[in-house]
């Protein structure tokens, strides 16, 4: 990181540092590196998100989520799942959401995908308010959700088929990617004839073939064993770089977040808010054994383990 010595130099460097900060969104990376110098409450994303208008000259980010809240039921029995979630996703960025289980991450995705309605809040797509992201997102879950009666290739083209692409064209497009996904030669297998990793790759291929700008990945590799999961992360990175998609990734796995994401959002338990954001300006492919990574992992685990209520 740039260390700034004198005030004179600092003034000159300000535009540059600002740019860097913008790229890192809020420079929490620095905070974590020098934790003692940085009051903990500044980790709260609400403090670090720039006021509206600050980025008005630049293109609006691909996706902005503002004060999104959601509760199931009404009155005293209602269960508040999401409380005031803010999030910002730039084009081509990969953001990981990490938090304790049952913290409403899936609800958040269902809100974005338009499966449930929020009680409050706003979703903006390229600066424009939208009700949900249906039509803009591709969604992938821990369950591969392959249709058991469709052969592998026909499962992969499901999204295209629904969009009205004729089957031969859709199949041709899918075939072009089979090799990249290590699925060549398995076109005519039924899902039950494929291994867990392969099924998940088919699900990923189906997600990618939809040709959407944003990929919502909800613990996509959560059900896989550790070795297969590492492989899948490599597949995902390759696909993400090739298609330059913007990714929102929900995960329980700290290492997965560190390996894949440009930025990690840490969520609190229900009603979940985004508590901190951590930029990861490291080159890929990353190794969890890199010194930087080890340090980031320690910081992230620390954030996950400390209870925000006890501090405030």
């Amino acid at each position: 990181m740039k260390v700034v010595g004198t005030t004179v130099r600092r003034r000159r460097v300000i535009p540059f540092t600002l740019a860097v900060f913008r790229a890192l969104e809020n420079g929490l990376f620095v905070c974590l590196m020098k934790k003692s110098a940085c009051p903990m409450n500044s980790l709260d994303i609400t403090d670090s998100v720039k006021p509206p208008g600050a980025g008005a000259l630049a293109d609006p980010p691909l996706l902005e989520v503002e004060s999104l809240s959601m509760a199931y039921g009404r009155g005293p029995d209602s269960l508040s799942v999401l409380g005031n979630v803010h999030l910002r996703l730039s084009r081509g960025e990969c953001i990981a959401l990490i938090g304790p289980s049952g913290c409403g991450k899936s609800t958040f995705f269902n809100l974005l995908a338009g499966l449930v309605r929020p009680n409050e809040g706003e979703i903006r797509l390229r600066g424009r308010p939208v009700a949900d992201l249906r039509g803009t997102v591709a969604y992938m879950q821990q369950k591969d959700l392959l249709l058991p009666w469709r052969r592998m290739l026909d499962n992969a083209v499901l999204g295209l088929e629904i969009q009205g692409v004729p089957r031969p064209t859709a199949r041709k497009r899918a075939r072009e990617l089979l090799e990249v996904f290590g699925l060549k030669g398995f076109e005519n297998r039924y899902p039950h004839e494929l291994s867990g990793g392969m099924r998940q790759r088919v699900a990923l291929l189906r997600t990618i073939l939809c040709g959407k700008d944003i990929w919502l990945l909800d613990e996509p590799f959560g059900a896989l064993d550790a070795i297969t999961r590492r492989e899948m992360q490599t597949w995902l990175l390759r696909a993400w770089e090739r298609f330059r998609a913007s990714v929102l990734l929900v995960t329980h796995d700290v290492e997965e977040a560190l390996i894949l994401a440009d930025r990690v959002y840490v969520m609190t338990a229900r009603p979940s808010r985004i508590r901190a954001s951590l930029a990861l300006p490291l080159a890929r492919p990353r190794q969890v054994t890199q010194p930087d990574m080890v340090r980031l992992k320690a910081g992230l685990l620390d954030l996950l383990e400390t209870n925000p209520e006890s501090r405030s």
Binding site: G114, L115, P148, H192
Partner: protein
């Protein structure tokens, strides 16, 4: 492969053993053949009266086939309506279930009265009896689709029709087939009851006729043909299931 061979060989050997004990008992206790004929005599009658038996069997088979097809069309149709409309479900499903409390025997004479001594009344009888398991199984099948899969299709912006045909219908197929298997087993009962109550042809008619003349071998021969028919139809449905649902191991 060996297992599959065993599933055929084992029941056949049990059947053979029963036949041998039966034959031995009939000979040892000198049971007259108008009370209980031995399997040997029954087989002999089957062979000697083959054309008679086949003629009547074909009539019964036709009744079953037509009744079954009608039940399939009406049953699946009603199931789709019940699935699609809450009003239809609430107004018709209780009646369909209640109708099952009426014994088919009770309405058989009425059906003969309305549809005549010919094949029509037996077709209706079979339809009535097969209809119920098909409706129930199909409704269950259409509702069986995994909610996450349905959500996925909704996110992919699938129309309700697309969700219905791409997910719900294939998902319902195994259910429909288990309904069909129950249906095919009871379909024989429907046709035979119809023939007992009033008919001029069919295996049920032949049984009643032979029974009255104390030709018990012929009664048993008819029963043998009926059960063969039942097994054959069941096999046909199972085979069709295997062809239409290849994704099930």
């Amino acid at each position: 492969m060996r297992n599959r061979a065993l599933t055929v060989v084992l029941p056949l050997s049990v059947l053979l053993a029963i036949g041998l004990v039966w034959e031995a008992a009939v000979r040892a206790f000198e049971i007259p053949s108008y009370i209980l004929p031995g399997p040997g005599k029954i087989l002999a009658v089957m062979w000697l009266r083959l054309d008679l038996l086949v003629f009547h069997a074909l009539i019964t088979l036709l009744e079953i086939a037509l009744g079954f097809l009608a039940a399939l069309v009406l049953g699946v149709g009603l199931a789709v309506a019940i699935y699609a409309s809450r009003t239809v479900e609430r107004s018709l499903l209780p009646l369909v279930i209640a109708s099952q409390t009426i014994p088919v025997f009770a309405i058989a004479p009425l059906l003969i009265l309305w549809f005549g001594y010919g094949i029509g009344s037996k077709v209706v009888m079979t339809t009535v009896i097969v209809f119920f398991p098909i409706v129930i199984a199909t409704v269950q099948g259409l509702r069986a689709a995994d909610p996450d899969t349905v959500a996925l299709l909704r996110i992919l912006e699938a129309s309700p029709q697309q969700i219905f045909f791409k997910v719900r219908v294939p998902q319902a197929l195994p259910f429909i087939f288990s309904g069909l298997k129950i249906g095919v087993a009871v379909s024989v009962i429907g046709a035979v009851i119809g023939e007992w109550v009033g008919a001029q042809r069919g295996l049920g008619y032949l049984m009643i006729h032979a029974n009255a003349q104390l030709q018990v071998e012929l009664v048993f021969a008819s029963i043998g043909f009926l059960s063969l028919m039942g097994v054959g139809l069941y096999g046909l449905v199972s085979g069709l299931e295997r062809v239409l649902i290849p994704w099930r191991r």
